[in-house]
C-alpha cells in the first residue's frame, strides 16, 4: 500500500518541480529521504504582507494512506501568525484535516499555506495571544510578524527598536527566542515582558 503513496509523491514532486510557482521561486519542494515519506517545503512570504521577503520552511510527512489522508505539515521556520503555533509550528487549517480531498496535492497545500499567510483564518479574531493582537492592534501584529520574518525567515525589514529591546533582555541572561516571545506577547512593552520573565 505504501507504494501508492510513494508513487503519487514521486509524480507530485515532478509536478511541483516543473510548476511555474517554482520558476517564480514562490514555492519549493525537496526530498528528505529516498522513500518519499518526508519532504521539505518552502514558501515565499506573499508580497504586501508582513511576511514579504521571508522564506518559510515546512516539514511535510506523508502518511502511508496518502493521498486518502492529508499530509502532516508543520512550520519549521518560526512564524508569528494567528493560525500557526509560534511554539511548535503546528497549523490549524481545514484542508489538512476534514476538508482534505484525495485530488489535492502538495502543490495545493503549499499554495493554500501561502494564501493563509495573506489572509488569516478565521476572519473574526480570536483570544489567543497572536490572534488577540491581530484583532486589537493590527499594526502591532504586523510589526511583530515582520520582525519575526526578519529574525527567522531572512526577511529584509529589520526593526532596530525591537532588536534593541531583545538585546536588553538577553543582556539580563534571557535566551533570545524566549525574550522575543515575551516581548511579542506584550506588544513590545519591555517592562511587562521583563515582569513576566522573572515572575
Amino acid at each position: 500500500m505504501a507504494n501508492i503513496a510513494a508513487q503519487r509523491i514521486k509524480r507530485e514532486f515532478k509536478e511541483v518541480i516543473r510548476s511555474e510557482e517554482v520558476a517564480k521561486c514562490a514555492i519549493k519542494l525537496d526530498l528528505v529521504d529516498n522513500n518519499y515519506t518526508e519532504l521539505r517545503g518552502e514558501i515565499a512570504g506573499p508580497p504586501d504582507t508582513a511576511y514579504e521577503g521571508g522564506n518559510f520552511v515546512l516539514e511535510i510527512k506523508v502518511p502511508e494512506t496518502y493521498p486518502f489522508n492529508p499530509p502532516k505539515v508543520r512550520f519549521i521556520t518560526k512564524i508569528w501568525h494567528p493560525n500557526i503555533s509560534s511554539v511548535t509550528g503546528a497549523i490549524c487549517l481545514d484542508i489538512l484535516k476534514d476538508q482534505w480531498a484525495a485530488a489535492m496535492t502538495l502543490r495545493t497545500v503549499l499554495l493554500s499555506l501561502q494564501a493563509l499567510l495573506s489572509a488569516a483564518e478565521p476572519d473574526d479574531p480570536q483570544d489567543a495571544v497572536v490572534a488577540r493582537q491581530y484583532k486589537e492592534n493590527v499594526e502591532m501584529f504586523r510589526l511583530t510578524a515582520r520582525h519575526w520574518t526578519n529574525a527567522y525567515a531572512g526577511g529584509p525589514n529589520a526593526n532596530p527598536e525591537c532588536d534593541e529591546k531583545i538585546k536588553r533582555l538577553v543582556d539580563m541572561g534571557i535566551e533570545e527566542h524566549q525574550a522575543r516571545v515575551a516581548l511579542s506577547s506584550y506588544n513590545w512593552d519591555l517592562e511587562r515582558a521583563t515582569e513576566q520573565l522573572f515572575s
Binding site: T65, K72, S85, T88
Partner: protein, 500 residues
Amino acid sequence: MLRFFISFFSSLFQMMIHILTTKKHIIQNVLSIYIKTTGGNISIDIDPKCDVSHIKKMVAPQIGLQPEELKVIFAGKELGDDIIIEECDLGQQSILHVVKIKPGNVQSKISASSTPNSKTLMPLCESLDDLMFSASSGSRTASISIGNETSTSDSLLDEIEVVANNEKSKPKKVHFYVYCPTCKKLTQGKLRVRCHFCKSGAFTVHSDPQNWSHVLESKQITGTCENDSEFCENILQNKEPTFAEFYFKCSEHISLGENDQAVPLDLIRPNLRQLQCLACFEITETIFSFPCEDDHVTCLDCFEAYCKAKLSDRQFWQHPEYGYTLACPSGCANSFIKEIHHFRLLDDEHYERYHRFATEEFVLQSGGLLCPQPGCGMGILADPECIRITCQNCKYVFCRNCLQGYHIGSCDPPEIQETSGTSGDCGTELNCDNRNGAGDDASRTTIKVITKPCPSCKTPTERDGGCMHMVCTRAGCQFHWCWVCQTEWTRECMGDHWFG
C-alpha cells in the same frame, strides 16, 4: 422413455468428454449445453463452429417438430439461423431455450425478419456496446481535476481520439465486471435475461438496455415471455407488460446451474476514455468509476487502498439505504457507492473488518458504544443509565463517560492512560517531539495520552500532535471538539489552549 435414454446417454457421453478434456485436452472443440424445450430438457454436445440452424436440426426430431417451427432464444434474443455458436459466448453447461413459434405471434416474426441488421439476432451480451455502459449518468464532461491544468487539456484530446477510434472500428463487446461468490473474486460477467415474472429464460426483449440503470433496476425493459406454461399470460392477463430481468453469470467457472449467479459491480468499468486515476495518476485498463458528476476514477489498486485507509479511520458511512459505504475520495456531493458488494474487492482480512465495523456502526447508531480496549472494539448495547460497562468479549470493565477503567466518583483527567500498555508508542512519540525542539511542557504531557473518546459519539480518537482542535474522524459524527476540555470546540478553547 426415449427422452430419458437420450439424456442418459448424452450425459454419459458428456461425462466422458469431461474426463477427456480435463485429463488430456484432446476434445477441446465440443461444447456441452442444455436445451430447455417445452417438452423437457435435452443435453447436447455441439461443435462451437456450427450455426444455430444446426441446433434446430439436432433438436427438432427429439421433440417431434420441424426445424422451421423452432426458435432458439439466448440472453434475451432470438438467435438468427446463421449465427455461429462460437460468437455467442456460451460457456460449458449454458442453457439455450428452444420454443415453438406460435402461429399468432407476429411479434417475433417482425423482429426476426424486418431487421436487416443481424446484430439484433445476436445474444444481448454480444451485441451491446461498451461505450454506453462506461459513461456515467449522462455527464459528458471529462474533467480531471488533479490540480494539474496542463494535463487536463492533453487528456481531453486523448479521449476524443479514443472515442473516434472506437467509432471507426466495430464497437467493442461490452464488459461487465461481477463479484463471483464461487470464485470469490472479481471476474468478467456475462449478461443474461429472463422473465421478471416466471423467471423463464425463454424471453426476448423488445429493446436493448441503453445504460446501467436499465440493467440494474427492475421493470425497465419490456419483452415477450415465450415460456410454454403461459403462466405469465395468465397471471398478467395483459394488464401489465411483461418485463425483462437481467442477471449475471461468472465467465470464469463452468455454470453450476440456473441459481449460480454473480453480483454486478457496475462501477468497475473498462477505461475507454483513458481517464487518469485520481490517486496515483496512472491510466489503467480497468477503473473504479465513482458515481459523481466529475467522473472521478481510481485504478483498482487505489480503490482498495482507499477502502483500507477509510476503514482504519472508521470513515465509512452508514447510509440508510445502501449500508456501510464510501463516497468519492474527492468529497463530491451525492457520490455514495450504492452496491456495497464493491467492497468484496478487499482481501479477506479487511472484508472481515469491514463487516465488523459495519455492525459496530450500527451499534453506535442504535445508542450503543464500543469497547475502548486496544484490539477489542466490541460493540456493546447497554442501558443509558448504566455507567459501569463490562465488555462481553474481553471482560474489560470501564466507565461509560471517560472510557477508562471503571472507577467510583468523578472521572479523572485522562493522563492515567499512560500506564495502559501502549508505552512503546508513547516513547517514540515523545522522542520525535523532543527532536523537533518543541520543548514545551504542555505538549509533552498531552502527547502521553494518545487517544481520548470523542465527546459526542465516544469513538476512541487519536491525536498526533498539531493543535487541540479535534474533528471526530468517524463518518457521520465529525464533531468538532477540544482535546483539553473534551467538550465541543469553542472560542474559549481557541483563545486559551489552541496549541496546548
